[in-house]
C-alpha cells in the first residue's frame, strides 16, 4: 500500500517537474507492482497535470514548462494506457470537439487546452488549426459531442465563431451541443453577443465552465 502511494506520488511529482525519464520509470514500476493503471493515470499523471495547470494559471509556470510536463505525462501514459480496463466512468466523460477556426493558424493555446482537458478526463476530438466550419459541425454530429470548443487568436477570425453557431442552428443540433470560446481575440462580452454558451480565459477556467454547462446532464 505504501509502495503504491509512493509510485502514484512519484508520477504526480515527475509530471509536475516535467521529468520524462522519471515519469517512465514510475509508470513501469506501477505495472510491475500491478497498480491499477487507470488509478495511476488519474491520481498520478492527471493530478500532476492539474497542479501544472494551476501553476500556469497563477503564472508560476509558462508554456515551455507546461509543454515539458505534458511530454512527461504522455510518456507515462504510453506505458500505462495498454493496461487500462474499460470503466463505466469513461462513458460519461464530456466529449469535446476542439479546434482553431478557419483563417487562424495559431494553435499553441488550443494545444494547452487539449492537454488540460484530457488531464481532466474529457474525451477530446482535436481538429487542429485553420478548421473549416463544416468540419466542426460534422465532427460534433459524428461523435455526439457535448461541447464544441473554439479558439481564435486573431480578431479577424472572430466572426467565424458566430457563423458556426448559425450553422449549428441550421443543422438543428444547437440545443444538443454547447459552444465555448477561448483564445486571445475572444472575450466574455463577445461570447454573449454571438450567443455562445461560455467564454473561458484559459484552459483551467474552460474545465470549470464545461463542467458547469454539463451539470445535471
Amino acid at each position: 500500500m505504501q509502495m503504491k502511494g509512493r509510485v502514484v506520488a512519484g508520477l504526480k511529482n515527475s509530471v509536475t517537474k516535467g521529468d520524462v525519464d522519471s515519469c517512465k520509470a514510475y509508470a513501469e514500476k506501477a505495472i510491475v507492482l500491478e497498480i491499477d493503471a487507470y488509478e495511476a493515470i488519474m491520481t498520478g499523471c492527471a493530478e500532476g497535470m492539474r497542479v501544472v495547470g494551476e501553476k500556469y494559471q497563477r503564472r508560476e509556470y509558462f508554456i515551455p514548462e507546461l509543454l515539458l510536463s505534458a511530454e512527461a505525462m504522455n510518456a507515462a501514459m504510453d506505458i500505462l494506457r495498454p493496461y487500462v480496463k474499460e470503466t463505466s466512468d469513461e462513458s460519461v466523460a464530456p466529449k469535446v470537439v476542439l479546434g482553431v477556426v478557419e483563417g487562424d493558424i495559431h494553435d499553441i493555446g488550443k494545444k494547452i487546452v487539449r492537454i488540460i482537458f484530457e488531464a481532466n478526463r474529457f474525451k477530446v476530438f482535436d481538429l487542429g488549426k485553420n478548421v473549416p466550419l463544416e468540419m466542426f459541425v460534422n465532427k460534433a454530429k459524428e461523435t455526439g459531442a457535448d461541447v464544441i470548443g473554439l479558439s481564435t487568436f486573431i480578431t479577424t477570425t472572430l466572426p467565424m465563431t458566430k457563423l458556426l453557431i448559425d450553422q449549428l442552428k441550421k443543422e438543428g443540433i444547437r440545443g444538443k451541443v454547447k459552444v465555448i470560446l477561448g483564445g486571445a481575440a475572444a472575450s466574455r462580452i463577445f461570447a454573449e453577443k454571438i450567443g455562445a454558451d461560455a467564454y473561458a480565459e484559459d484552459a483551467i477556467e474552460g474545465v470549470k465552465k464545461i463542467k458547469n454547462l454539463l451539470k445535471g446532464r
Binding site: 516535467g18 503564472r59 509558462f62 508554456i63 515551455p64 514548462e65 509543454l67 515539458l68 511530454e71 478557419e102 483563417g103 487562424d104 493558424i105 494553435d107 499553441i108 494545444k111 485553420n130 486573431i154 480578431t155 479577424t156 477570425t157 472572430l158 466572426p159 467565424m160 486571445a184 481575440a185 472575450s187 463577445f190 480565459e201
Partner: protein, 372 residues
C-alpha cells in the same frame, strides 16, 4: 497599368512632416498627433482586390497601401512585410491567404530536428539579397521609391529573433526546447540574429540606410516567464538592433511589442533607443496597455505609439471608436517625445472603413499640439 490615380503630393508632404522615420518627434511637425491604421489586407479589401494578391505582388501591395493611407488621410506611407518572412530562404514553405486567412502562413517550417539547427549555415548578405523573400522586398521597396520619390524612406523587415525562430522551427518545438534544450535554442537564436542582421545589411547596402521595424506577439507574458523573456528575447533583440545600427541602419526604429506584456514590458528598457525611436507596447493581460505607465518609463526617451483595441475598430460603432481615440489622444498627446495613435495590432482586413475615418477624425479634432 495602375488602377489608381497619382498620389496627392500635399498629403505626402504632411505625412513626411508628421511621421518621418528619421524624426519621430512632435517638434518636427508641430501641428497635431500623427495617426496610422492601415494594413496590406485591409487595403486589398478596401479596393476590392483578393487579399493574396497584395502578398504575391508586392508592387501592387505597396500601391494599394499608399492609396488606402491617402484615402483615410492617415500619417503613414507603406511598409510591405508579413509574419511569415524568411521561411522560403531556408527551404520552408508558405501559403498565401485564401478567403479567411489574414496574411501568408507557414505550411512547412525549415527545421525539424536538433541536427537541422546545428548543421544549417546562415546565408550571407549576397545570398540573402538574391533569395525569394528579398526578391519581394526589392519589388516593394522599388515601388515605394518610385511612388514616393523624395519622401521615400527605405525599411527593413527583421522581426524579433524569438519570433523568427518560431517561423523556422514551429511554436511547439521552440517552446518545448526552450525549457528542455536551452543550449540548442541559444544556438538557433544566435543564427537568427546573424540572419536578421544580414537582411538589414542588404537593404543598407542598396539604399545607404533603412529604418528598423521589429515586433512580434510571440515573446510575450502569455508565453514566456520574465526570466525566459530576458534570456531568450531581450538579449537577442538588443544584439540584433545594436549590430543593425552599427551596420548603418537607423536611426528610425519602430518596436511593435505586440501581445500581453504585463510581466515583461519594463525589461524593454534595455533595448537600444536612438534619436528617432518609437515604441508600442500593446497589451496588459487582455486589456490595451495603459500608456500613461509606458510614458512614465519611456516617454523622455522615445515616441510612444498605441493603443485603440482592434476588436473595437472591427466591431464597435464609429461613435465608440471616436470616443476611445479621443480619450487616448487627450491623455497621451503631451508625451515628451511624441505620441502616435495606432491600433493595438494590425487592423483586421474587414474593418468598416467608417471606423478608420472615426479614428482619424478624433485625431484631427483633439490631437492639436502647441506650436514648437
Amino acid at each position: 497599368m495602375s488602377i489608381l490615380f497619382p498620389i496627392n503630393t500635399k498629403w505626402l508632404e504632411s505625412v513626411h512632416k508628421r511621421y518621418n522615420p528619421y524624426e519621430f518627434s512632435p517638434s518636427a511637425s508641430g501641428d497635431r498627433v500623427s495617426v496610422s491604421a492601415c494594413s496590406l489586407g485591409h487595403a486589398a479589401n478596401l479596393f476590392g482586390v483578393p487579399r493574396y494578391k497584395v502578398y504575391a505582388d508586392p508592387g501592387l501591395g505597396v500601391e494599394l497601401l499608399l492609396a488606402a493611407n491617402e484615402f483615410y488621410g492617415v500619417d503613414d506611407f507603406a511598409h510591405w512585410d508579413h509574419s511569415s518572412m524568411w521561411v522560403e530562404d531556408y527551404d520552408g514553405r508558405i501559403a498565401l491567404p485564401g478567403e479567411y486567412a489574414e496574411a501568408p502562413y507557414i505550411e512547412r517550417h525549415p527545421f525539424e530536428t536538433p541536427q537541422d539547427i546545428e548543421k544549417f549555415e546562415v546565408k550571407d548578405v549576397h545570398e540573402i539579397s538574391k533569395g525569394p523573400t528579398m526578391a519581394k522586398m526589392w519589388k516593394a521597396l522599388e515601388t515605394a521609391e518610385r511612388l514616393l520619390s523624395r519622401y521615400f524612406t527605405p525599411w527593413s523587415s527583421a522581426h524579433l529573433p524569438y519570433e523568427q525562430a518560431r517561423r523556422w522551427l514551429g511554436s511547439d518545438k521552440l517552446l518545448l526546447w526552450t525549457a528542455k534544450k536551452p543550449r540548442l535554442i541559444h544556438e538557433l537564436l544566435r543564427k537568427v540574429v546573424e540572419h536578421q542582421v544580414n537582411c538589414i545589411k542588404a537593404v543598407v547596402r542598396k539604399y545607404g540606410s533603412c529604418s528598423i521595424n521589429t515586433g512580434s506577439v510571440f515573446a510575450s507574458s502569455e508565453v514566456l516567464s520574465p526570466k525566459m523573456c530576458r534570456e531568450f528575447h531581450i538579449a537577442y533583440l538588443k544584439e540584433m538592433v545594436e549590430r543593425a545600427l552599427q551596420a548603418g541602419a537607423g536611426p528610425g526604429i519602430f518596436y511593435h511589442i505586440c501581445g500581453d506584456h504585463s510581466l515583461d514590458w519594463r525589461l524593454h528598457e534595455d533595448i537600444p533607443i536612438t534619436s528617432s525611436t518609437m515604441i508600442h507596447i500593446a497589451y496588459d493581460h487582455k486589456k490595451p496597455m495603459n500608456l500613461t505607465r509606458v510614458i512614465k518609463v519611456f516617454g523622455e526617451k522615445c515616441a510612444i505609439a498605441g493603443n485603440v483595441p482592434t476588436d473595437l475598430i472591427l466591431f464597435g460603432t464609429p461613435r465608440q471608436v471616436y470616443e476611445e481615440a479621443k480619450r487616448q489622444v487627450l491623455a497621451y498627446k503631451h508625451s515628451p517625445k511624441g505620441f502616435h495613435l495606432k491600433l493595438t495590432c494590425a487592423i483586421p482586413s474587414h474593418t468598416p472603413p467608417v471606423n478608420v475615418h472615426a479614428l482619424v477624425r478624433a485625431v484631427i479634432d483633439h490631437g492639436q499640439l502647441p506650436k514648437a
